[in-house]
Amino acid sequence: MQFWAIIIDSFRESKDRKIFWVMLLLSSVVAAAMFCVSFQPGRVDIMFGMWTIETSAFTSADGLRADRLAAVIIDGIMDHVLGFVGIVLSVIATANFIPNFVERGTVDLVLSKPIPRWRLLLYRYLGAMSFLGVQTAFFVVLTFLVAGVRWNVWLPGYLLSIPLIILLFSFLYCISALVGLITRSTITAILLTLLGWVIIAGVQSLDDMFVLYPDWQKSEAAYHTARTARWIVPKTSDMTRLAKRWGHATNFLFLVEPETTKDRELVQRAEKQEAQRAAMNPVVIIGSSLLFEVCVVLIAMFKFSRTDY
């Protein structure tokens, strides 16, 4: 009863924000744009044939290449539209959920209810994620339907992107919640969360570079530090790789056409790196990232339980 009361309240708060509707509109625009594209042997028609791109990248003798279309949808559209723009907007939109919650005059009444504080914060935390949950489900299901109806490419594995993206967002939102709880400042929560994301992405990219450029591994201390750091931070880029793997998407590098030997080598190494990362155990990726999240949320719960309001 208390759980659903808080979840429903959080969803009502989400709906009250203009950004919620703007994001739904953006998702609809992306889906509409996808609908205007069709694939023909040797070409891609845009806006129902108004523009044409000559390419046979998406077709074969057997018809459309679902793995490549999946790469465009998951790696291209979902990763960049939802995985970046969507998450940045969601971080901004949800950053004041916790500061608002602990505002004097608001928090008094909820703390007087017969519910432990840790549970109150946990429910609120989960409630804030309903914002991105609705957005992700809307975007993924809409684009899934467009791909199926318009191109006859059904990608059931793509639907697994919904929990993966929500998890990805939760890894960042835990930082936002903790900062918002301690500072009670929305701006600080946004800035530190985005900074945290940059650091997390930086740590993962640095580790990737060691795979891409094996010579770097000669510096053992740096290599092991990068490896350890990667294990500690949430694996946000690996989550996207998991989405591609589960969506049966091919490597997006098929669009790159290397012109020199050096380029070809680089692409080969990048493919090797992608293959290595894609082979990672999903339990390890999700489990170690969740461990980070659980630690941050536990700190937030401890702080919330000990604070006078």
């Binding site: 009863m1 208390q2 659903w4 009361a5 808080i6 429903i8 309240d9 009502r12 708060e13 709906k15 009250d16 505002e103 004097r104 005059g105 608001t106 928090v107 008094d108 009444l109 909820v110 703390l111 007087s112 209810k113 017969p114 519910i115 432990p116 000990r306 006078d308 309001y309």
Partner: protein
């Protein structure tokens, strides 16, 4: 009968013993408060700003953790969740989410208080009607006036059919009619056996409804008791008469009276002086209209308590 059952049967709805709170920065908000509120009574908590009233209420409602505290709420230790579900609370300067409607707000807070759905559905319209907010039930709260928000706040405090209602400045923002409605509501609650703890700055309001009051000064209980106990002390006698006292006025002044037109006032509680004055007045041939003892008002007790040293043990 178990010890627990005996504890639950105590007459105190609120029994707070040695409540202390020291905030960070070593600010001592409460220095050992003892307060007892009987079941079914309306109890007023008084005190100047910074006396610790709101801190005490917040400790009762588990919003603030005490540095040290003993005692019970509805027969169970402070913070007992089962009993918290039986308490209604209206905090001071509350802020309700503007995106909710009045009806949604009542349902939300009642669900947090573990009120079953059927009871929530039955209580919400009844209470909205009781606080004259039925017409606004489906309007967003951010369109409400301050008085409407306060009335809604009172309704939410009653959604769980509480045994104890804790109201912090309940008439804040209400017009005179709204205040009268709240007073009537408090008396209704009392008639149903609900205990009410009222924290208010408005002494006249408390005087009208409270059975007992406690005056907090500087984190300690300075006075506590029934209104009649606190106000029983007679301040002065006033003798009203008709006619000219003439030269007898000097005799009245000699007795310690202050003559002002048709009234002579005798400070203190010396009835002998009043009787002597009556003899003097009769001797002067004037008609005695009335002799009125004037007792302390709550405001005077309040001011007196603020200037006197509080009793560290409180008044039990």
């Amino acid at each position: 009968m178990t010890a627990l059952a005996i504890t639950e049967m105590t007459n105190w709805a609120v029994d707070l013993i040695d409540v202390r709170k020291t905030y960070r920065g070593r600010v001592q908000a409460l220095k050992g408060v003892n307060i007892q509120v009987g079941r079914g009574e309306i109890f007023g908590l008084l005190g100047p700003n910074g006396a610790g009233k709101t801190t005490l209420v917040k400790i009762m409602m588990t919003v603030v953790k005490p540095t040290r505290a003993f005692g019970t709420i509805l027969g169970r230790p402070l913070g007992h969740r089962g009993k918290l579900a039986r308490v209604g609370y209206l905090p001071e300067s509350h802020r309700f989410p503007g995106y909710l409607t009045g009806a949604q707000l009542l349902d939300y807070y009642a669900a947090l208080a573990k009120v079953p759905l059927a009871k929530r559905k039955a209580n919400a319209p009844r209470l909205l009607d009781r606080v004259s907010m039925t017409a606004w039930a489906n309007t967003r709260i951010d369109r409400y006036s301050k008085g409407m928000i306060q009335r809604l706040g009172i309704a939410q405090a009653l959604m769980n059919d509480p045994e104890l209602v804790v109201l912090d400045e309940p008439t804040d923002g209400l017009d005179p009619v709204g205040r009268r409605d709240v007073r009537q509501l408090l008396l209704e609650l009392k008639s149903k056996g609900t205990t009410v703890l009222l924290n208010s700055h408005l002494l006249s309001e408390l005087e009208m409804v409270c059975d007992r009051v406690s005056i907090l000064v500087d984190g300690l209980v300075a006075r506590q008791g029934t209104l009649s106990e606190l106000t029983e002390r007679t301040l002065e006698y006033r003798v009203h008469f008709k006619g000219q006292v003439g030269a007898e006025g000097e005799k009245l002044r000699a007795l310690g009276g202050h003559l002002d037109g048709d009234v002579v006032t005798f400070p203190g509680r010396d009835v002998g002086k009043v009787n002597a004055a009556i003899d003097v007045l009769r001797g002067a041939g004037v008609l005695i209209e009335s002799v009125q003892p004037r007792k302390l008002s709550l405001e005077e007790i309040f001011v007196e308590a603020m200037t006197a040293k509080p009793n560290p043990r409180g008044a039990r």
